[in-house]
Amino acid sequence: MRDDRHLWTPPKPLWNPLAFKDANLCAVTLTRQSLISGTNVRKADLPLIEWPDVAKDATYRLSLRRDRVAEINGDIRPEGWNATKGEACSDVSDGYTVLQLKGRAALGILKRGTEISLEHPSASVARKLFGLDVWLYRFGVEDQFRIHVARAYDETLIAHLTTAAQHR
């Protein structure tokens, strides 16, 4: 087998924000991410974030599919099938790295990787960004975007965002 250790840049944790022109990128640590599937998951008391909603609460749910949400910073839930609620739940707190891109140039950077527009709403925040499956939505303020990506691809996404940020 071919030794490729020199072909791949060793991963660097994103301790400090990366500064781009008119935008910056940092990693976010969340208390919890839970994947919840079931026929009624879109009906709950928590805010359900679609695109281009801006999530403003400490705990919220991301709308992924008609039968799936991701609950952010919610309570600890037992994993598995809950027959009473008719829901399947799995902890995915370690499965997704959460990045945050903020600034005037942020949306333009994202447009390098996905066909996205504030004028074109979507019921799901799941999409492909630079070919990677992500959950993408606004958080806190209008020019701040959170991106959940499979942890094994977080280096790749950071590299793509960095390259995209270099274009004027």
Partner: protein, 931 residues
């Protein structure tokens, strides 16, 4: 040809620029194209035609020029095949004519033209047959091609690629496009205007005034109004293709040597204001340098201040020519007009034209300005699926009918009258349709006359002449596509912009048909040639097919792991900086004598939950899963509908309605898709839910005789003794407060545990495990060593030991095929003729005499005797350090009955002998496994 002092709307005389062409130095100005600068310097021969190497001059002023193709070098970057008319001048540019040596003016291959009689269209189909095409081909190949490509990689040549949306995309910034953009923007639409020149305005500079304003001022006012109203304008941007669902692809050019930017614009609607281009006339000698487009000549004057000549002969068949003639005359050109329909018209001169001869008279001039009408640029309309209609008055194909998301205006719509065009633009800006008015101009059709004398060009770049079209008609290549392909008319880099119409018209005359009856060839993107890099962008090197990274990668690097690509992940192949073979051997030995620690995190972990989970898992798996109890693990196969092994893995039942599928790391996405597809097809998706948790959990495998001792050294709460945790069982416990799942499964054939923990805690667990292991002389091992261990046991790797034919019974799992009663995916295919033939390839071991090297993976087992054929192949082959011998697995026909037989193994012409044995070379009773 010279520069006038008082003209040139887009050049900046304060910024002179130096450049060279074919080695000679010249000067131009900022705003010039290479073409306008060369013309200002009186350069008349700028290239050579493709086949006959005839001298070529400028025909057009923008994308419609087929002749002026140059390779251009600047600051060490060389770009082949640049069109001089669309390449903006920069200081220090060195341009060279392609396909000419040493210069365009003096090309040694110019003599080829002497043989033109024998080199007509399609000549190569009629000869080179004997003795062999291969004798002639190298010479033909060397003569073909335009520019040469340097083998260097331009490291900075990367395209930015961006998605964008707008309500209204206006394509073309001439008078019509500017008006439509302004109206649309002022009406509150989200507007983007793309114009392919550095200075918009299209051909408006030729119009003295628009709405009582000087053209340049009028253009500036529209631009200001568009921007004030919030519209965006992209300059030097060409819309080159229309794709499904309103997607329009554009390239934005920048400074020379930079890769263009790709814009993928999803437009609610598009307004096509791409204008029209001038049409050549077909007459004897019409390819000579100096014969150029009348309207291009006007364009050179108004935009760049270049007067093509002080005197010219004008050949025009329509009244629009009047304005161009007036513009040129006012600038001092002495013009003689000649009726282009006069028989016997001929452009004289040797290398360049010296004027027109007709009816016994010669009219001397340096340039012949020709036009036979305007051809609307309808390419994008056709990409979008719009139809065309033939218009007799204009002798042109015009957009016809309606498209839901595109309308054409102005010259692109055949509307050449400016006032009508502005009306259309006004309506289009508001999203309204507007009927096309009759043109106020009149035109007398003047098309090629087949049978007339003299060499008359149709396609200037490919040297297709009227005679070639006559031959094509004579030989029945009469359909428009046959005509094009047989003569190569329209297949040059200008894609027929200046040749298609003349070609169609000639064929129409030859067939006694009308031009619309001949039809057009298919208009295909891109509208102009664009660098391949436009499609490439940032997806390069590590961003091309990126690999998945382990959470423990830093640990592995610290331990000098050789990181290799396995199934889309970057994983340790072995550890150490020395010879790979040595490390792998040591690791394999360690794993069998003490223990090996392997990062198994990429292994798939897909949970299936819900009231129908059990029935569903039983349906998608070959093996029976209904009898799997909570806490138990079972090995199984996922089959395709064709009964072929798609993946193998283990299924753990966590609860009555919760299963964990551990599929191969390389197949996780595929398995997840397979499960989701079947969930929705024939099953009730409201009762089955599938969560892919592969990234959530890291897995550390501890395998070997000391495995249990290592686990006991971790201070776990759990009892991992042989009684408490037998083989193929799992328990859920904790490590330092975090959930830990311990599964007793084995890929090595030894006592083996898989410890799964949420990924963020993996480094801590890894450190603990390796520390304890180290005290027992157990170490991390990589995939290479593990591959040997599993082969010693005859455990398959799907995709290596199996292929597109392998069914589960071929690898030793035949019972469910006979006994499983519930329906499952692939069931019926397991009972076809082929599924039952005795000669199926099955998995066996192959053994060679002690001391011989391993067999080559990919060698075939062959029949002995005459008519040798393959019986199968070696799929895995290693030297086993633990067994001190070579071992191999293979898929061989009917081999189960042949265990013990000797066979011939063939590789690259050499034979070896091997014996068919059981695929399990180690511990067949499983004592090590069940320790």
């Amino acid at each position: 040809m010279r520069r006038l002092d008082d003209k040139g709307a887009v050049i900046d005389r304060a910024k002179p620029l130096n450049f060279t062409f074919d080695g000679k130095p010249y000067q131009g100005f900022a705003g010039d194209t290479l073409a306008s600068a060369l013309m200002a310097n009186g350069v008349r021969i700028v290239g050579r035609s493709f086949k006959y190497h005839r001298p070529r001059g400028f025909w057009g002023a923008w994308v419609d020029d087929p002749n002026a193709i140059m390779s251009v070098t600047l600051n060490g970057i060389e770009l082949p095949n640049c069109l001089a008319t669309t390449t903006y001048l920069e200081n220090g540019m060195e341009a060279r004519a392609v396909n000419a040596w040493p210069t365009a003016k003096h090309d040694i291959k110019g003599g080829l033209d002497l043989f033109h009689r024998f080199l007509g269209a399609g000549f190569y189909y009629k000869t080179f047959i004997w003795p062999d095409w291969h004798l002639f081909e190298p010479m033909i190949r060397k003569m073909a091609g335009l520019g040469a490509v340097t083998p260097d990689h331009l490291d900075e040549f990367h395209s930015d690629q961006i998605h964008d949306h707008c309500d209204t995309l206006i394509i073309g910034g001439g008078a019509s496009g500017l008006t439509a953009a302004r109206v649309a923007a002022e009406a509150g639409q989200n507007v983007v205007l793309v114009d392919d020149q550095a200075q918009p305005g299209g051909s408006s500079y030729q119009t003295g005034t628009i709405a009582d304003t000087a053209a340049a001022d009028w253009i500036a006012a529209q631009m200001a109004a568009i921007k004030t109203a919030g519209g965006r304008v992209l300059h030097q941007t060409t819309a080159y293709g229309v794709y499904d669902h309103g997607l329009i692809a554009c390239v934005e050019n920048g400074a020379f040597g930079t890769a263009p930017r790709l814009w993928r614009i999803r437009a609610g609607r598009a307004v096509l204001a791409t204008g029209a281009i001038d049409r050549p006339l077909t007459f004897a000698g019409n390819d000579k340098p100096g014969v150029m487009s009348l309207f291009a000549s006007a364009e050179y004057l108004v935009r760049y201040g270049v007067l093509a000549s002080d005197n010219a002969v004008v050949l025009a068949n329509h009244s629009m020519a009047k304005e161009a003639v007036a513009t040129l005359t006012a600038a001092g050109m002495a013009i003689t007009q000649i009726d282009p329909d006069t028989p016997g018209l001929k452009a004289g001169g040797w290398q360049v034209t010296n004027g027109i001869s007709v009816s016994g008279r010669h009219h001397p001039s340096d340039v012949v300005l020709a036009t036979s009408g305007l051809t609307p640029l309808v390419h994008l309309w056709r990409h979008a699926g719009g139809k065309l209609t033939w218009d007799d008055a204009r002798q042109a194909f015009l957009p016809d009918g309606q498209l839901s998301n595109m309308q054409a205006i102005g010259a692109a719509n055949g509307t050449f009258d400016l006032n009508h065009a502005l009306d259309e633009a006004q309506a289009a800006g508001l999203g309204q349709s507007h009927p096309r008015q009759d043109t106020s101009h009149h035109l007398t059709p003047v098309w090629p006359k087949p049978g007339s004398k003299g060499r008359q060009w149709i396609d200037f770049q490919h040297d297709v002449t009227l005679k070639d079209i006559e031959v094509a008609a004579r030989e029945n290549y009469v359909s428009v596509e046959h005509l094009k392909r047989y003569t190569t008319l329209g297949m040059a880099s200008d894609q027929g912009k200046t040749s298609n119409m003349a070609g169609l018209a000639a064929m129409a005359t030859l067939k006694g048909a009308t031009i619309p009856e001949i039809g057009t060839t298919t208009f295909r993107p891109p509208f102009v040639p664009i660098p391949l890099e436009v499609y490439h962008g940032a997806k390069t090197k590590q961003l091309y097919h990126p690999v998945k990274r382990l959470v423990l990668e830093a640990r592995h690097r610290d331990a000098d792991a050789a990181l290799c690509e396995y199934g889309g992940w970057l994983r340790p192949g072995w550890y150490g900086n020395g010879a790979a073979a040595d490390h792998i051997r040591d690791e394999a030995m360690t794993a069998r004598t003490t223990a090996g620690i392997l990062d198994g995190s990429p292994l798939g972990k897909i949970e299936v939950m819900g009231p129908d989970a059990e029935a569903f898992v039983n349906f998608v798996f070959y093996n029976t899963m209904t009898t799997l109890k909570p806490g138990h693990i079972r090995y199984g196969f996922l089959l395709t509908e064709g009964g072929i092994v798609y993946d193998d893995g283990v299924v753990s039942r966590i609860d009555n309605d919760r299963f964990l599928i551990s599929c191969s790391s390389s197949h996780v996405d595929g398995v997840r898709s397979l499960l989701e597809n079947w969930r929705q097809d024939g099953n009730n998706p409201d009762r089955i839910f599938i969560h892919d948790l592969t990234m959530q959990w890291a897995t550390i495998t501890v395998t070997g005789p000391k495995a249990r001792d290592i686990l006991n050294g971790l201070d776990l709460d759990a009892d991992v003794s042989a009684d408490a945790l037998p083989h193929m069982r799992f328990i859920e416990t904790h490590h330092q407060g975090h959930p830990l799942r311990i599964a007793r499964v084995s890929f090595s054939g030894d006592l083996s545990f898989e410890l799964s923990i949420p990924s963020r805690h993996a480094p801590n667990l890894w450190d603990k495990v390796t520390a304890v292991a180290g005290t027992m002389d157990a170490h991390p091992i990589g995939i290479e060593a593990m591959s040997i261990l599993r082969a010693e046991k005859g455990y398959i790797m799907v995709g290596k030991d199996t292929d597109g034919e392998t069914m589960p019974q071929d690898v030793g799992f035949g019972i469910p095929r006979r006994k499983k009663t519930n329906a499952f995916v692939g069931d019926r295919s397991l009972h076809t003729d082929k599924a039952n033939v005795p000669s199926r390839k099955v998995l066996v071991g192959l053994s060679v005499p002690h001391g011989e090297p391993p067999l080559v993976t990919g060698a075939h087992v062959v029949t002995d005797g005459a008519n040798q054929r393959s019986l199968g192949y070696v799929t895995s082959s290693y030297h086993s350090p633990f067994l001190s011998r070579a071992i191999a697995l293979g898929m061989i026909e009917g081999a189960v009955e042949r265990v013990g037989d000797e066979v011939t193994v063939w590789h690259d012409g050499s034979n070896r002998r091997a014996r068919i044995v059981s695929p399990c070379f180690l511990d067949p009773n499983g004592e090590r496994l069940h320790a």
